[in-house]
């Protein structure tokens, strides 16, 4: 019994074909027998999940109305605070920290909506990486091809959903950490507008660029979860004081009448053959015939790079000084170099960001939505150091985020829709909207799903 969607979970429970307790046991059993092949979880919250399921079953037997995500199992990247667990943010460095005293804001909201937290997931240490090759906690394997990475840094959250362990999950995205694993694992993912979802209780990495958001296996599930997550939160100073804008009711509106273009120039240059084909297929399905340029994307990527290095380096400077041996070897010296960057570089990058943001606003006077590939290629092999991209040999870990980094720099809302290549691997397309218009991204993702272009099947994993 493996329900495929939020709707199937809630229908089974409402129709009394299954109890929340039975569904949670099935999810825990699937993880127990299959996650050793994937390594998506770093902690299983079985006791908490069983207690939550009992609560849902009690509501049902009392005839009380059930909340929208009642009994639906989900997972969170291990940088989200979960009461009673130590928040790792992928790092051995944090293992000795005290357990969280309360849940992160988004976990609290999902809990109130009846969703059942089943565990915390693996990630690149500190969220600094695009592959979830974590030296201390192991690499997370891609459920669709276990020789390949799941993408990162929210790789465990993506793999857990692609493997059918969780119905949906939460990740974070500073430079592409939701969009990259969504692309590699064949999932729908949403990086909302910067400031649209609360980061309170999510361990920081780069305060200027950190976003949080959901993964799911359908556009509808993604929208449902996003709607539950919305709302202002004084505990996150960057969280906007905006009313909830529900996206689910209008999800089937489609894209008719929307002005849609494909991003060319930089976003074409750094897309490999599979990525280019995916974008063309998505563009054809959405009726997008125009090409549009977002000028200076290469410099925007540089600004994101500098801001990331400087802020994360500063955040970890004290620990780099006091406990260097506890650091992830793949990122320790990157963090150290970041901590030493000249202030001028950092401030220049922040000012460039304003320029680039204004430039994007001009683009969105002409278009309602623009498209680009989410990753230059499909999932890379575990351990790969270099790859060839349109005839150029480039370093894998630094290049996977080329197409995502310039866009998160200015906080645009972006959904990823998963397409599939003839050789059987997924690759995502970014559906990029003006600020606060997550509804447009999600409607486009839904339209691609209805057109049969995007889909997100659960990977077959033998127990």
């Amino acid at each position: 019994m493996l329900p495929q969607s939020i709707g199937e979970y809630t229908r089974l429970i409402a129709a009394r074909e299954a109890s929340a307790a039975e569904l949670v046991e099935a999810a825990l059993q699937r993880i127990a027998t299959r996650d050793s092949a994937i390594n998506s979880f770093t902690a299983i919250t079985a006791e908490r999940a069983r207690a939550k399921a009992r609560e849902i079953d009690t509501l049902r037997s009392n005839g009380a109305p059930l909340p929208p995500l009642a009994g639906v199992p989900y997972a969170v990247k291990n940088l989200f605070d979960v009461k009673g667990l130590t928040t790792l943010a992928g790092a051995k460095l944090h293992e000795r920290n005290a357990p969280a005293l309360r849940d992160a804001t988004l976990v609290t909201r999902l809990d109130a909506a009846g969703a059942v937290l089943i565990g915390a997931t693996n990630m690149d240490a500190y969220a600094y990486g695009f592959t979830t090759e974590n030296t201390h906690y192991g690499a997370t394997r891609n459920p669709h091809d276990r020789e390949r990475v799941a993408g990162g840094s929210s790789g465990g959250s993506a793999a857990a959903v692609a493997a059918g362990f969780a119905c949906f999950s939460l990740g974070s995205d500073t430079n592409g950490s939701i969009r990259v694993p969504a692309s590699f694992c064949g999932l729908f993912g949403l990086k909302p507008t910067f400031g649209h979802l609360s980061r309170a209780g999510a361990y920081p990495f780069v305060a200027s660029l950190d976003h949080v958001g959901p993964f799911a296996r359908s556009a509808h599930d993604l929208a449902m979860v996003y709607d539950v997550l919305q709302g202002p939160d004084a505990l996150d100073p960057a969280c906007a004081q905006r009313a909830v804008q529900l996206t689910t009711p209008e999800l089937d509106e489609g894209v008719k009448g929307l002005r849609i273009a494909v991003l060319d120039d930089y976003f074409h240059t750094w897309a490999g053959p599979d990525a280019r084909v995916a974008v063309e297929r998505a563009a054809a399905a959405l009726g997008a015939h125009d090409r549009a340029t977002l000028p200076e994307a290469q410099r925007a990527r540089a600004a994101a790079f500098v801001i990331t290095a400087a802020e994360s380096g500063s955040l970890y400077l004290k620990a780099l000084r006091e406990r260097p041996d506890a650091f992830e070897p793949l990122s320790r010296e990157r963090l150290t170099a970041g901590a030493l960057l000249p202030a001028h570089w950092y401030l220049r990058a922040q000012r460039f960001r304003s320029w680039f943001q204004a430039s994007a606003q001009r683009l969105f006077e002409r278009y309602d939505l623009v498209l680009a590939a989410a990753t230059p290629c499909c999932a890379t092999r575990i351990g790969a150091e270099t790859m060839e991209l349109n005839g150029v040999v480039v370093p894998v870990r630094a290049s996977i985020g080329l197409l995502t980094q310039p866009l998160s720099l200015i906080g645009l809302p972006i959904a990823v829709a998963p397409l599939w290549t003839p050789h059987g691997l997924p690759i995502g397309v970014q559906l990029i909207a003006p600020p606060w218009r997550e509804d447009l991204c999600l409607n486009a993702a839904r339209a691609l799903e209805l057109a049969g272009v995007a889909r997100s099947p659960i990977a077959e994993i033998a127990s």
Binding site: T193, F194, G195, S208, A238, A240, E296, Q298, R299, R301, A302, A303, F305, V306, A309, L317, L320, R321, P324, R332, E333, R334, T336, A337, A339, L340, L341, H344, W345, L347, R348, A349, Q350, R351, F352, R353, S354, W355, Q357, Q361, G411, P435, W436
Partner: protein, 57 residues
Amino acid sequence: MDWDAYVDAATALHDLPLDAARRAEVIEQLKRIEPIAQPMLDFPLEAEVEPAPVFRA
């Protein structure tokens, strides 16, 4: 940029002693960032372009 001298000065300033291997790798990282950053640093910006990370509109 003389990154060797810069790293020695900056690590002294930050009280961040590095062994030879780490020092070499940090210098390598900075040499990798520099060509990425330089075109962005050279981009002309009017004085009134100020940092503004959050969308208001």
